[in-house]
């Protein structure tokens, strides 16, 4: 199965990287027409940066707007971040310290991931206002992520994957070759799902994170009056 998956993984990573760079390049090249910061804006560039960092890690704006969306959205994003960190264990036999730290909590994190996504999906289905604005893509994004998360949860809790073999396989991918990987349908689907997300990410609304850093309403500091 290793030879089959390798090109998909490699191609999707290329798409993810080039696509993201293209999106950012196109955005940065687009001029900021006018001063449109929402006031009161931070007084300095450092202040703007701090506000954007705080926004990226804690979603204070969403909290003010809708506590439930914030709860599900924040839990999802935090667990996604932790999940990605935990996945770094598949890059080396001895996991880095940070990764080793989080590994014991893997099942909590995956439950959090599933719970957050389920909450977001439930809101989208149950709240009239959200249903009105949702397109098939909006549901599919959530369903896709949910499927990957559920598969990942199964995989992490079963013994069907030989972790040692998987690490050697991932390391071979880094050398652009493909080591042996025992066939495992669930793992194949999990990886395939991730590949789809990688390819979709730069060209969809999933790219909202990087874009939010460049929005003139939030990225322009208050102007001096003298």
């Amino acid at each position: 199965m290793g030879e089959f998956i390798a090109p998909l993984v490699l191609v999707s990573i290329v798409v993810l990287t080039l696509g993201s760079l293209f999106r950012l390049w196109r955005l940065i090249r687009t001029p900021v027409q006018r001063y449109i910061a929402i006031s009161p804006a931070p007084a300095t560039r450092f202040g703007v940066l701090s506000a954007l960092l705080a926004e990226s890690f804690f979603f204070p704006t969403l909290f003010r707007a809708s506590v439930w969306t914030w709860l599900f959205g924040w839990v999802f994003h935090v667990c996604l971040l932790l999940t990605l960190i935990i996945h770094l264990r598949f890059f080396s036999i001895t996991p880095p310290l940070l990764v080793a730290w989080f590994m014991p909590y893997t099942s909590y994190v995956s439950w959090g991931l599933v719970a957050g996504l389920t909450g977001l999906l439930a809101r989208r289905c149950l709240v009239d206002r959200l249903r009105y604005i949702s397109t098939p893509a909006d549901y599919l994004h959530l369903l896709l992520l949910l499927a990957i998360a559920v598969l990942g949860m199964f995989l992490s809790q079963s013994d069907s994957v030989n972790v040692y073999e998987l690490i050697l396989y991932v390391q071979s991918l880094l050398r652009l070759s493909s080591a042996h990987l025992s066939s495992n349908l669930l793992l194949a689907l999990h990886v395939l799902g991730a590949c789809v997300v990688f390819c979709v990410y730069p060209f969809s609304k999933l790219f909202h994170g990087p874009l939010s850093w460049f929005n003139p309403t939030r990225s322009q500091p208050r102007r001096s009056r003298s």
Partner: protein
């Protein structure tokens, strides 16, 4: 809340006539090519504006904005949810400028700009007052006003301009102000005000016009000359400047602070109108430029004007345009003027933060000056000051319901419904604290409230200009 899709589909402003369109350099009517013209313009606009690009690309449909727009709250029409309003443009943008929209339109909800969609653009881009309350709650800060401005500019360019706004831009270009008030009428009006104030105070408070010996040019919204309670605010400015001994003047050439070019999203028109102010200031040789109580004028003056025109001729101590409230605040802080709150003892006031001042500008030199400056002044001049619910003031203030070029009679139903969230907050303080007046510092807010108040069992004159309250409490004559 039960959604009522298309409940407001009938509400749209009158179209500009072919003549009104051509005067502003827009297509007189829709041409046979309107579709391709619109699509091309849309592509240009997105590639020229980062804010618009983010709006087209970054919305994750989280729904945070859905219950934040006063027009949605007042009409229950889901098309007035900010995200749905943006979707009118986003779906067309996707259809023509994104891969998924082109090849899998059903997946992302991409739509063609057909006649029905064009009608929706005209209808719902004119149900946005560009107040930006939704942007405050958007996790990625999408600015719906940028979308409705771009949408209106495209509509106007292809032949579907709005009568009210077009007419006004035309009048500024020809007469110098929104009303089309000619110089002699303005002079006569100001003379009348001098008589009134002399009668009231016994003091020769002047309302100078085109006085080239003045050091300060005051640019007021023309409603300040014409309507109530606006004119009482103008009297307030004059009293303050008189008492402080500042030599000032109004200008015939720049007898308008408002800039409706902003509402239609047309940068050339906004710039041309803003340039009139600089030309007048240069011609009169003034050293200070001060704006009266007009919300979006202050936005243009503070955020755009210094980028567009050279203001080097201004005094080094006041190098940028100032707001009259800042001037009054500074005079009061430094003890050059004083207030006697007993003069307003009969009033219990609350303050309506105008959207453009609250979310697009600052006053004074502090982070929250645009909230504290008017409140400091109100509290100093009236002992009975009450705040409305915090969820409806400061950065979260609700629009009056008439901003962004919607202050026209044919949109009255929308304006009344859109005012409801503000009116509910006001009704609460009227009931609990016997508030008698709501104070505003924007010409549109004042006109809108005096029109819709009777619909909410309030008298048309329960809205006051900030400088009316200040002027009434101002200690006049030789007090020092």
């Amino acid at each position: 809340m039960i959604l009522k899709p298309d409940a407001m589909a009938h509400s749209k402003p009158h179209l500009a006539s072919a003549e009104q369109q051509e005067t502003l350099g827009f297509a007189p009517t829709l041409s046979d090519n309107w579709h391709s013209e619109a699509i091309e313009l849309l592509g240009e606009k997105v590639s020229e504006s980062r804010a618009l690009r983010v709006a087209m690309d970054a919305c994750m449909k989280c729904g945070a904005c859905t219950d934040k727009c006063h027009y949605f709250l007042g009409t229950d029409d889901p098309n007035n949810m900010p995200v749905a309003r943006q979707d009118l443009m986003r779906s067309v943008y996707q259809r023509h400028y994104t891969f998924t929209g082109k090849y899998l339109p059903w997946l992302v909800g991409a739509k063609e700009l057909d006649e029905d969609m064009l009608d929706r653009w005209y209808t719902y881009f004119h149900q946005c007052s560009q107040c930006r309350r939704c942007s405050v709650y958007c996790p990625v800060g999408i600015d719906t006003s940028e979308v409705s401005m771009a949408g209106r500019d495209i509509l106007a360019s292809i032949g579907m301009g709005q009568k009210y706004v077009n007419q006004i831009i035309g009048k500024v270009n020809s007469k110098g102000n929104n009303l089309g008030l000619p110089g002699p009428a303005l002079a006569d009006t100001l003379l009348g005000l001098e008589e009134d104030v002399l009668e009231e105070t016994g003091l020769p408070v002047r309302f100078p016009l085109d006085d080239s010996s003045a050091e300060l040019l005051l640019v007021a919204p023309s409603a300040d000359f014409f309507a109530e309670p606006h004119v009482d605010g103008l009297i307030g400015y004059a009293k303050v400047l008189h008492q402080a001994g500042i030599s000032w003047t109004l200008s015939t050439h720049a007898s308008e602070a408002a800039n409706f070019g902003l509402f239609v999203g047309s940068e050339p028109h906004t710039k041309t109108m803003a340039s009139r102010i600089r030309d007048a200031a240069l011609q009169l040789g003034v050293k200070r430029l001060v704006f009266g109580e007009c919300g979006h004028a202050w936005r243009v003056a503070q955020n755009f004007l210094p980028d567009w025109v050279d203001l080097d001729f201004l005094d080094a101590a006041y190098p940028r345009p100032q707001h009259i409230a800042e001037v009054t605040h500074e005079l009061w802080k430094t003890g050059r003027i004083q207030f006697d709150p007993s003069k307003n003892a009969e009033r219990t006031v609350t303050f309506h933060d105008s959207c453009n001042v609250a979310r697009a500008t600052t006053l004074g030199n502090t982070r929250n000056g645009h909230f504290t400056v008017p409140r400091d002044l109100l509290k100093a001049s009236c002992d009975n000051f009450v705040e409305m619910s915090r969820a409806t003031t400061h950065q979260s203030t609700f629009c009056c319901g008439g901003g962004g070029g919607l202050l026209t009679d044919e949109l009255l139903e929308l304006r009344i419904k859109g005012a409801t969230p503000r009116m509910n907050a006001l009704a609460q303080v009227v009931k609990e604290h016997q508030v008698t007046h709501m104070v505003a510092m924007c010409a549109i807010c004042k006109s809108q409230f005096s029109t819709v108040f009777p619909e909410f069992d309030l008298s048309f004159d329960a809205v006051l200009s900030l400088h009316q309250v200040l002027g009434d409490a101002l200690v006049m004559g030789s007090v020092r």
